[in-house]
């Protein structure tokens, strides 16, 4: 019961607090890192969805040849993909931030005024 509440709450909290980080951000590098925190909330969510009490790692033949149940491997595969996506998107957005620093002379979103209306 406690585990259920904690896991779902932490997952949702991380997504929201990451978004809060973006909203409050005064530095685009910080924005990008906060975005990756928001994404890590989805890791927790997926892992929690596939967890089973007392189950072992999803590797066959380990821990007694299929005698004990394993946790859901599918969510783990999804999180693996998710982590790759997170790393690549972070790299991409950081590259954009570098160019913004060069062209705008600032990485403070409050001072970027090129697009409006």
């Amino acid at each position: 019961m406690t585990l259920t509440v904690v896991a779902w709450t932490v997952a949702g909290w991380l997504v929201l607090v990451g978004a809060l980080g973006i909203v409050r951000s005064r530095d685009l590098v910080h924005t990008v890192v906060a975005l990756s925190v928001a994404q890590s909330g989805t890791y927790v969510l997926l892992i929690a969805a596939g967890f089973q009490r007392g189950a072992t790692v999803p590797i066959l033949g380990a821990g007694g040849a299929g005698s004990s149940p394993v946790v859901d491997p599918l969510v783990q595969a999804m999180v693996l993909t998710d982590i790759v996506v997170s790393a690549t998107v972070t790299a991409l957005l950081l590259a954009l931030t570098i160019q913004i620093a060069k062209r705008h002379g600032t990485v403070d979103p409050d001072e970027l005024r090129a697009l409006r209306g």
């Binding site: 779902w8 066959l60 033949g61 693996l80 993909t81 790759v84 690549t88 590259a95 062209r103």
Partner: protein, 245 residues
């Protein structure tokens, strides 16, 4: 304006939190033993003699997702290379002399290099048996290479010339991944189908295409991370300032 932004965010966050409670209270508790997909996936992995079920999902049952993931990696490497290309008004400068590094650090860096390479290779090659696989191993391998930079040997890193071969190796890896997928189509088994003999569960050379794809992915990911880091290092070290903004 920023006040309004926070108010808006607060309202949205409260609303989403309420929805989140509505959603999660209706779900089965965390730790439940009802996992229908798990049961099917474990049976499928056993049928193809892949001990690591996660690898079986990534490189056999749901290869298409991994193909998409590899393509994302490729795309972002191309994207970063494109975005960080020297602009018209920038120049490539000779690198700064590397800062002095303690001899102990340098020694540790060189000493750990072969160990890290070895572990990386192991993680890739045993991905179908033990935790790990192409992605994790690829990152470890790429990190090993950058120990050269971190331990103060930027010239050594330049000597390896990762920026020459990595941007070619990475699309080659992705292309090979697609080719292995298409090979299944050519032999008539269907796209990304297993077409190698699966072998015996737990043996080093088991699980057919999973091992092959793990290696291909490992090469691709390693090259991708090397080129990504190479682009960022180049910004820091050899690209001179552009015009005033």
């Amino acid at each position: 304006m920023s006040r309004l932004r926070l108010v808006l965010f607060g309202l949205g966050a409260v609303g989403l939190a309420v929805l989140w409670v509505v959603a999660t209270t209706g779900l089965p508790p965390v730790g439940t033993d009802v996992h229908p997909y798990r049961d099917a996936a474990v049976a499928a992995a056993a049928a193809h003699a892949t001990a690591n079920v996660v690898s079986s999902i990534n490189f056999d049952q749901r290869t298409f997702d991994t193909l998409g993931e590899e393509t994302i990696l490729l795309a972002s490497v191309v994207a970063v290379t494109t975005l960080l290309r020297p602009a018209d008004d920038e120049r490539v400068e000779p690198p700064d002399p590397p800062p002095a590094v303690l001899p102990a650090t340098r020694l540790a860096g060189w000493a750990l290099l072969p160990v890290t390479l070895l572990v990386g290779a192991d993680v890739v090659l045993h991905g179908h048996l033990t935790p790990g696989g192409g992605f994790q191993g690829g990152v470890v391998l790429a990190t090993a290479l950058h120990l050269l930079y971190l331990a103060g040997s930027f010239p050594a890193l330049q000597w390896v010339r990762p920026t020459r071969w990595a941007p070619l190796l990475e699309p080659a890896g992705s292309g090979l991944f697609v080719v292995v997928g298409l090979a299944g189509l050519v032999v008539g088994a269907g796209f990304t189908a297993e077409f190698l003999p699966p072998g015996v569960l737990g043996a080093p050379l088991s699980s057919g295409t999973v091992l092959l794809l793990n290696v291909v992915a490992g090469v691709g990911v390693g090259a991708a991370v090397v080129s990504l880091l190479g682009q960022f290092l180049r910004q820091e070290i050899v690209i001179g300032p552009g015009a005033a903004p």
